[in-house]
Structure formats: structure tokens, C-alpha cells
Symmetry: C2
């Protein structure tokens, strides 16, 4: 039966990916460095391995080097002599010497370059700043290789630096609260793939997630008790800075703000009372731009927050303001008339200008979703493009800096390849050199409607590594198959940081299967994906407290076996071989008989019964294809076939089958 | 190949344990309630399920009932209408009605009893306090059953209350620091098996783990930056109280105190400087009882800590004071002479009396390891027995209250059965009724020399559930096989609380196997156990920063397949059957051929190469037994046999094989 370890092994074998005993790991680097020159020989990793740092670094490099040592001994099992890497460690005694010219500043545009030289007897990392040196340590860990004598690093010389300065992940702690440990392990994952900014979405209709001392009713009444204390905010900011990662907050106003209004209904455009929103979607409650109390509270809160987040950027959201409550409010309407504000856009721009004054006083630079772009706004704000690349291009032409998230919405459960090929600055983009420089980079966005602390890692990883590579590596690095090959390796390495993208999946299947053998469930989970884009909740069945513990939550984007099978069929059709044909038949045979086992399991595990029709559809299609392959005469696409495909295309239990297209391609090829 | 899901399934099948579609879960309860009366019919769990609370509870019951709902929908996949259980929810509309007479106090001796009545149309939990009601909710979750129509609760009437009032788990955050999330998920695990006190070991030679405002050098220099802030301490205390669990701290003095001396060498018996200890063992540095500064600092620190921990008990350690530094200190020797203190015991008693004064002023009751028992100490202290049951009995006779940890040292990697049969008050104990009442209960102790955040859950669970049952259930509940049967079920349920005892094991094997198929590694890991008692570090090879990521860390006590095989052989020898014989042969055949696969994996995975000899030994023994079973004539125990057994008994790579005894028994049976 398919199972993670077997599947991984199969994947590796199939693509001939992972380094074998004789193969060094230079081809496993992710993101791909700007320049790699392979050398001769091997640096042998021994139990005497020692690290030293020289130069003038920020002390964070010592923690980073110590963490590096622990990950290296965790993998290799070697008992190194060093407890911590310390300033007193001697360069002469070191096997790995890290040389840093000056302390790095965890700020946009800081030098992050590094040079990594592995020679037979010595490894050196040279960098202007400790931020670059930390990237070098991650690259070195990815190089760890194995041969008959044990672990080694292949001789190599790498020169590396990022293509974009802003390489981010947005985490939405508001819709589903994300506990501290979830944030920390994801910060570690970010550092491992050289991302350097966490955008923290802290308020929403569904929750106000940070302690405020000036207006404590905001978090006390707006969070169900699930908020970060100010000490915890500082802890996350420090944890991230230790890994070279900036953290900046988003306080989404004037829409997406119901949670503010639970404790402070006087901020609303219409009288309350308001309750924490439990559903998903765009909601009406909106701050009232005509009321001074709104700015008083915002100024007090933002002043507190500005002190917690040292980063100069401050996100005000600004998206999806539909303005219905503004239309219904007489005072708002009067205010618009009195101030000559023609429409809701003008009113929002007016609001934003007031906010801008507050932020400017706090020495913060405003960033907001592309709706904040308005001729009245000065060009020192940053446009965060989510609705389309066009707004990013328009912003750059108008003199605004911008970052791209359109195409990086990882909550939509699209394949990594989609995100990977989404270049912020494709060759053919119609921008001058100066305009191109205004495009700072991009951010993956982990909106959390359908994401819980249990599943968030499997939504972020490994796909976000593909986005990290797009933002770090050269635009020419764009081989999708090669990206997927390396994604499998990085997925395993990310586990050592505590990320639960693989292990929670097993746990969730054990729960669903109530301790019974879950092979049949896993076989199905490996070929279905959660409904994509916004289709999962088209029937509005989900609320914030719904069980996200079912098949669509076990399933991930890039369903493992479906992806593998698609590549296999593509290769077979392009270049048929006996071996490939057998591999296809073997897989089809497994699927064809899986439904019986699934049905038997479902009798004991009611929570998977809803998925019976899609399990049936998988077995039916596989059986059909198997029979067609075994027949001598051409396949005839008849009504029965059509009916089976029709059934297989239906979403069931909030998932859809991902092998319909390759099986169809296979059958079409058998028609002649 | 053996694998978790298959093995669990096999276990279930073998013991015919888990509820089948037709079987309710009343026989899965752990701890076993004091009284169960099975009723007629089933309460059908529907998506309309609602909970209400009536009476006069502490508000914590609403959080507990809401968490109950989320675990119930997480398992069942049903979309319940309630976001949170609230005081406004109407009893009449409820399917589960919780009735509580008064707010419970999270304090020793509080009423924890409950009555749970499941009828066809209604479930009721009735309890004097919300603490009892929360126990009832855990019992109800364990009752969740399945039939062809879905999930249900079997009709039943349960009356329940604990046998002992003090049912604890000690967590050692000092030797290896345990992060907040590790503590929280283990508190959830404790609540699930009705444990009610966490003893928090916060200082050691290896670390001073709590922020102190009066003497900040203690945590700043004594912790490598790994300490709990006072806000975090409060967070843990509140999290535990919300689950009905007391938390009290241990500050181990005057020994086990090196970490205090790094920042404050003036407290030491001999001049410093001192460094944080990296090794494991009993160390010389000791506080100097003759110096007033020692009491000044202790009073300031204890005063801060007394405010953080509302529980009246306060543990001062007091164990393993060897006194060598006292012997070497002239001032200490002079002090002893001047005060007529005959020996180190008298000196420690003098020290303890000074501490007692401080604690008494702080309204705390002193508790300490059995070394603090001394004729000069008053009987209002509590003796924590670790060296042997005798000291507990002696303490009770002398008028002291006591708790037992001897026999509950889960760090020693002994089987659950050992702990399970260790009754604090066996029938034949020579104590009067009044003396017996002084025995308050017991605590499992998770000393963390060889335990990291990655492995701690698999060291605590599921074995600690067996101890929890010993402390809660009647002394008559003592069937070891039945305990193991239920332990498998509870192990799965504990996963839903985030506990990583199962999933981290898989992750660690993936890391060791570098992504290759790890079946052969798992087959070995399922029959070996880490070296027990104090043998693992007999060669002093481990230090605090050593890699705890290898085979002995993947392996657990009660090695799954070994335990299963032992029971199988026992049953077979007692009552031979064709079916049992075949099961034995099948298992032996797998082991016999496992070494080839293990060897192939080891070529690609150097970190497991050290274990090659024990893998070889397993295959050799299994091959020998297999051949003997297949032969017609009696087995002859010759020198070759002896040599193979000799090899199989050798510890290798810090583990030892657990199937030697049953295979020997099998072969001995074939000698006739």
C-alpha cells in the first residue's frame, strides 16, 4: 500500500533525485545560488568538527552557528566537542571559519550576500554581514552528503546574493489564531529557505490578536482570549531578528475590522452592538472616518504597536472596503458632503491620509493593499499588490514602491509550479530600469480561513520554498520538474526545525481511521486536493470553529501520488518504454483495488464515509485505464467512459481528484 | 514490513482490543472508574449536539466544555452549532448537561468526584465541583464509539472519584530546557488521564530556568538564555489551573545548584568561578550554609517565586548532597564546630531549618526529597520519597505526610508494567489507618538528562497513563495485559492534544534514513529499548548538547513488537495453537530477513551504522528460532546457539534487544 516512506522512496527512485552514496548534494540547493563552482575532493565531517567566527559580527551569529552545529550533529549523530560557538573560539582551531565584516542590520536592503568555500581541509564562509553568513550556514547544511565513509561536504565555491530584497511570508493570526510555537517553527523554516520578512496579520473581523494597554477592551472582548501579549510580540520580533528576519504588523482598517468594534462600537459607522465574526467572507462593519474617536483610538494603538515593532514598515490593510455601512450612515454621508468627498474611494483616501499623519509622526512608512493607491496619496507609501500584477505595474509607473502577493496566495491550494513561475519582474514587463527598482519583491500569504495550527505547516510547506526561490534566485532558474525534485528534499530537512507538515498528516489520518490501518485513506489522500481558489467554502458551510480535521485537511496542494503519476504519464506519452508502462500499470492496479479497502475502513471510521464516492471514482477510473492498457485493440471512449469521468470530476467531501487529466491523456493515447 | 499503522492494527487484532463496529468503548476507559454500570441503548451523536452548564461552577468549566466540543468534532467531523459553551446556553436545549454545585479550588484534597449518566436521549455530568466535571468530560470522550450508523455514546452510569489526592508528573526543565508548548501539551495529556499536579523542577547544575528580578544574574548567567519569564510562569500556572492541575516549583538546594553559582559564586562553599555544568551526574558545587548571603538571596528569590505559584507547596529538593566541598571549606568546618553540627546531615538539617523559616513566612509548606527527613525537622513538611518505599513508610510512621516517586522514575525507561504494579499503599504495608492517610499519592518523574523537547513526549506517554491509573483507580485494578491493551488506545487519543510521542518518532526515523524507506530501521526500533536505569551514560559519553537523535532516542520503553511478541510466545507456550505458531513464524521470518534491508539502508544512512551488530543479532536469533520451529527433531542448545545469544544480549549503540528472552523460552520449549 502506498505510504509516506514508500512514496518518498518511490519519488526519489522515479526521478533519481536524492544524492546517492556517491553523489554530492550540490544539485539539491534551494534556493539555487547565483553561482556554483564545483571543486575537487571532499571535506570529511568528523566528530572533532569545530566552528569559529572572526571579524566584527552581530552576536546573533554565535546563536546561529550554535544552532547550525546542533542540526549538523542531529543529522549526523556525531558528538561534537562544542557546546556553543563563542567569541573566544579560536579561528586557527576551526574547521569552519565564518568571517564577517560588520554587524548586519535587520532592515530592508541590508547586504545579505555570502561566499562559501568548501575545501578538503577547511570550510570558510565570508560575508559582509552576519545576515549573509547565516544564509551561508543554511546553504552549507543543504550540502551535507554521504558516501561509504560517512558524511562529507563536497568541495565547492559558491557566490550568492538575493535577487529581491523583500522576500516574505504573511501569516494570518487573526482568522485562526496561531500559537507562539507555530510562529517560531515557521520563522525557522523561513530562514532555512532565505526568506527575510514576516508580515503579521493581527486584526480581522474574526479577531483582534494583540494586547493593547491603552484600549484593553480591544483584545479582551475581541479575541476569545486568544491574543499575543506585548511580551510575546517582543519575543517573536527578537526570535525573528536572531534569524535575520524582519517582522512588521498589519492592522487592517477601515474594513475587516469587526473585532475592533466588539469592545469599541463607538468606532463603527453604524450603531452596534457587534460580535466577533464566526463566518468567512467580506463583512459590512466598517470604521467611521468621520469620527475623531476613531483616530484617537488608532493613534493610541498604533503608538503602542510602533514601539513593539522596530521595523519602519507598518501595514494598514485597506482592502475590500465595500462601504455599505457608510452609505447607510447619515453622519458619514453628511461628512462626505461637507468635505467634498465624491465617493467611497475618496472617503477611504481621506481616512488613509489621516492614518498617514499618525504613522509619519511615529516614523513609520505606510504599506497597504492595492486599494490604498489613490492619486491623493504621496509616493512614499508602499503598495502591496494582491488583486493583480497590473496594480503593481501601475504603482511602479506612478512612482510607488511595491511588493507582489498576487500569484503567491498559498491559501488557495494551487500547485507550487503556479507560484514558482510567477515572476514579480518577468523579462517582458513594460517598466523602465528605475521603475523596475521600485518592485521590492513579494510575499506568500497564508490566509487562515481554512487553516488551523494543526494544518498550517502543510499549507505553507514545502510550497513556500518554491516562492522563496523565485524571490532569491536568478529569473533563469525556472525548471518546474527540477524545483519539485528539490522540494522533496527540502521538505524532509524542514522537519528538523519542528515543522509538522509531514508528521501532522499522519497523525490526522490516525485520528480519522481511529487507530485502524489507514493505508487506504492515505492512498486516496495522496491523489486528491482540497477545493482550490474560493470553492471550498462556496456553500458557506465553514465557520471559524468548524472541524478542520477531515480529508480536505489531510490533503495538500501538489498531491504526492497525483503529481508523480502525471509526470510519469507525460514521460511515457512523450517517450514510451516498457519500464514506464509497468510503473503506470502498477499504480493503476493499486488504485483499482483501493476502494474495497477504503470501504472496509469507512465502516469502522465514520468520519471518512463522506469520501466514499470519490474513492469509488478513483478505483473506477483506474480499473478502466488498466483494462484499456491490457487490451490489444484501440480504446473506445463511450458513454460509460464519459459517465465515469463525469463522476470523477465531481468535488466530493470538499476535495477533488487530481488524476483525471493524466488518466484521460492515457486513454486518449490508446484510442488510435 | 512492520510499520506503525500496521503494527497498531496488528496489536489491536492480536489482543482483539479495540471496539469494533458493534462494541462500545466502556472497556477502554483509562483510568478505570470506581464504578461502571452498563445500560441499554445508545446516545446517537448528531450534528445538532449541544452542551450546557448549570449550577454554580468556576468559569473554567466553559473553556473545558468548549475544548471538549472541539475534540469531539475533531474526531467525528460533525459540524456542531456551538462556537463556545457559555453561561447563557440553556439547559433545556442541551444534549449534554453539566451540573456543578460550587467552584472547585485547584488545591490538594478538593472534591474531584463526578457522576456520568449516558441515556438514549440525554447525557448528564453531575459533580460537586467543576474539577470533577472536567474529569467526567474526559471519561465521556473516551466512551465515544462507532457503529454502522456513525458515532454514539453507550448508555452507562459511572460513579467516580480518585483513590489518591496527589497524582503528579514532575517535569525537569533544568537539565534540558522544555519550551512552553511542550509543557502545555503535556498538561493537556495529564488532564486527559486525570493527573492533577505538575511538579516543576526549575534549577539544576545545568540550568537556572526562571527569570528573577531581585537577582537577575541567576537566570542571565545560569541558563544559556533558556529560561521562563515570570509572565510565562504565570501563563503555565493559569493554563494548568484551567485544567484543574496544581503547579508547584522545585528549587533544588543546597546541592544540584551549580547554575546558581555562575552568577553568584559568593553563595558557594568554595571559591569560584563556576560554569554551567554540561555533563550528567552528581556534582560537587554546593551552597554554603554558613553564609548569610545565601539566605538573603534564597529569601529574595523564594519571595518572588511564592508570588508566582499560588499553590501552598514548595519543593526545596535537598537530594544527593555529598558534602565534599563542605569538607574542603574551612569556614564551613568552623561553622559546624561552633554550632555543634556533628556531620553533613546535621548541617543540611540546619540549612533546611533556615529555609523552613523563610517558607513559613511566605505561607508555603516545604516539600523535599527524602534526604530532608531528619529528627530536627517538624512534621508539617512533606517527604517526597525517591530512594525507596521504606523512607515513605518511615515518614508516615514518624507523622510526616509523603508522596511516592520511587518506582515512578519514567526516565529509567522501564516498562509501564513496573510502574503500574508499584502501589503506594499495597495491602500488606505495615501502617495504621492514620498513617496510611499520610500517604498522599505519587508522582511520575521525567528527569531530562537524556530527554529533549523532541523526545520528551515519547518518554512520558503512554507510560505515565499507567501511573495515572495506579493513583486514581482502585488497587484491585491490576491486570497488566489489560492495562497494555488500553494504553494503545489512549496513546492514539493523546495525539489529538498535540503530543508528539508517535509522530516525532516517524520524523526522527525519516531524518536518520535521510528520506529513504525506513522500514528496516523501524523494524529494529520496534524491538530494542534504550539502556535502562543508569546504564545509558555509564561511559559518560553524553553531555547536555549531545545529539539525542539516534536509535536509542527513537526507541522507547515497551518496544512495540517486542512486547507483542512476548505476549504471543507466552500464550503459545501456555496454550499452543496452529494460529499462534503461524503468527510466531511470520514475525520471525520478517526479523530473519530484516538485516539485509537494514544493511542496505545503513550504506546510505551513516547515522544508523553503529547499530549494525544488533540488527545482525536480531536476524541471527530469528533465523535460528525459525529453523528450530521448522525442524521435526528436538532443538539442541549448542555452543553456536550460546554464542548467538551472547551476542544478542550485548548492548549496542546504547540500546538492547528485547526479544532475547521470549526467543530463548521458545527454543527451550523445543528442546524436548
Amino acid at each position: 500500500m502506498p505510504h509516506l516512506k514508500h512514496c518518498l522512496a518511490a519519488l526519489f527512485a522515479l526521478f533519481a533525485l536524492i544524492s546517492t552514496v556517491a553523489k554530492p548534494m550540490t544539485d539539491q540547493l534551494l534556493p539555487v545560488p547565483q553561482s556554483i563552482e564545483k571543486g575537487q575532493g571532499r571535506f570529511r565531517l568528523e566528530a572533532t568538527f569545530q566552528v569559529a567566527v572572526e571579524g566584527n559580527p552581530d552576536p546573533r551569529i554565535y546563536s546561529a552557528a550554535s544552532r547550525f552545529l546542533r542540526r549538523l550533529d542531529g543529522r549526523s549523530g556525531l558528538f561534537f566537542p562544542q557546546d556553543y560557538v563563542k567569541p573566544t573560539d579560536l579561528a586557527d582551531a576551526s574547521d569552519l571559519l565564518i568571517t564577517v565584516s560588520r554587524p548586519g542590520s535587520v532592515a530592508l536592503g541590508e547586504d545579505e550576500s555570502y561566499r562559501l568555500v568548501v575545501e578538503k581541509k577547511r570550510i570558510r564562509i565570508l560575508a559582509e554581514t552576519d545576515l549573509g553568513a547565516m544564509h551561508g550556514l543554511e546553504t552549507l547544511l543543504q550540502l551535507l552528503s554521504v558516501d561509504e565513509d560517512g558524511f562529507y561536504f563536497p568541495a565547492v565555491e559558491i557566490e550568492d546574493a538575493p535577487r529581491f530584497a523583500w522576500r516574505g511570508l504573511m501569516i494570518d493570526s487573526a482568522r485562526h489564531f496561531m500559537p507562539m510555537d507555530a510562529l517560531k517553527r515557521n520563522l525557522d523554516g523561513m530562514a532555512a529557505v532565505k526568506l527575510n520578512v514576516m508580515h503579521w496579520h493581527l486584526t480581522e473581523d474574526q479577531g483582534f490578536r494583540v494586547e493593547t494597554k491603552s484600549y484593553p477592551r480591544l483584545h479582551e472582548l475581541g479575541s476569545d482570549g486568544m491574543y499575543y501579549t506585548q511580551e510575546q510580540i517582543r519575543e517573536i520580533v527578537a526570535y525573528a531578528a536572531d534569524r535575520g528576519i524582519r517582522v512588521y504588523p498589519e492592522f487592517d482598517v477601515p474594513g475587516h475590522a469587526t473585532a475592533w468594534l466588539v469592545g469599541h462600537p463607538e468606532m463603527a459607522s453604524l450603531p452596534g452592538p457587534y460580535e466577533i465574526e464566526r463566518g468567512w467572507g467580506i463583512f459590512e462593519p466598517t470604521l467611521d472616518p468621520s469620527k475623531e474617536v476613531v483616530y484617537e483610538i488608532l493613534e493610541a494603538v498604533f503608538t503602542e504597536m510602533a514601539a513593539l515593532f522596530p521595523d519602519p514598515y507598518f501595514h494598514i490593510g485597506g482592502d475590500e472596503v465595500e462601504g455599505h455601512h457608510w452609505e447607510q450612515s447619515e453622519t458619514v454621508q453628511r461628512f462626505m458632503e461637507e468635505n467634498g468627498l465624491a465617493d467611497k474611494h475618496a472617503l477611504q483616501a481621506h481616512f488613509n491620509q489621516r492614518i498617514l499623519k499618525i504613522l509619519t509622526k511615529l516614523e513609520k512608512r505606510m504599506i497597504g493593499w492595492d486599494e490604498i493607491l489613490h492619486p491623493e496619496m504621496p509616493t512614499n507609501i508602499v503598495i502591496h499588490s494582491w488583486r493583480g500584477r497590473e496594480s503593481m505595474v501601475a504603482a511602479a509607473k506612478d512612482g510607488y514602491q511595491s511588493i507582489l502577493s498576487n500569484g503567491y496566495y498559498i491559501d488557495l491550494m494551487q500547485p507550487a509550479s503556479e507560484h514558482y513561475l510567477n515572476d514579480p519582474l518577468p523579462k517582458d514587463v513594460d517598466l523602465s530600469e528605475a521603475e523596475r527598482e521600485r518592485v521590492l519583491g513579494g510575499e506568500a500569504t497564508m490566509w487562515s480561513e481554512h487553516v488551523t495550527p494543526e494544518t498550517v505547516d502543510s499549507r505553507i510547506w514545502p510550497r513556500t520554498a518554491a516562492i522563496a526561490e523565485r524571490l532569491w534566485s536568478s529569473a533563469e532558474v525556472d525548471d518546474v520538474r527540477d524545483m519539485y525534485r528539490r522540494l522533496d528534499t527540502i521538505a524532509l530537512q524542514l522537519e528538523e526545525l519542528g515543522l509538522a507538515h509531514l508528521k501532522n498528516r499522519d497523525m490526522m489520518m490516525r485520528r480519522l481511521a481511529r487507530g485502524y490501518d489507514y493505508s487506504a485513506l492515505e492512498a486516496l489522500a495522496d491523489v486528491v486536493e482540497p477545493l482550490k481558489i474560493y470553492r471550498r467554502n462556496a456553500d458557506l458551510s465553514y465557520r471559524s470553529f468548524s472541524p478542520y480535521t477531515l480529508l480536505p485537511d489531510v490533503a495538500t496542494a501538489d498531491a504526492r501520488d497525483a503529481l508523480r503519476f502525471r509526470f510519469l504519464v507525460e514521460d511515457y506519452l512523450a517517450n514510451p518504454s516498457e519500464r514506464r508502462q509497468q510503473a503506470i500499470s502498477k499504480q493503476l492496479r493499486r488504485w483499482a483495488k483501493n476502494h474495497d479497502a477504503f470501504e472496509a475502513l469507512a465502516r469502522k471510521a465514520p468520519a471518512i464515509r463522506e469520501a466514499l464516492p470519490i474513492s469509488q471514482a478513483l478505483s473506477d477510473l483506474a480499473g478502466l485505464a488498466l483494462a484499456a492498457m491490457e487490451r490489444e485493440d484501440p480504446f473506445v471512449w463511450d458513454e460509460t467512459t464519459e459517465a465515469l469521468f463525469e463522476a470523477a470530476r465531481q468535488p466530493v467531501a470538499k476535495v477533488e481528484l487530481q488524476v483525471v487529466q493524466p488518466i484521460e491523456a492515457l486513454l486518449r493515447s490508446l484510442e488510435q
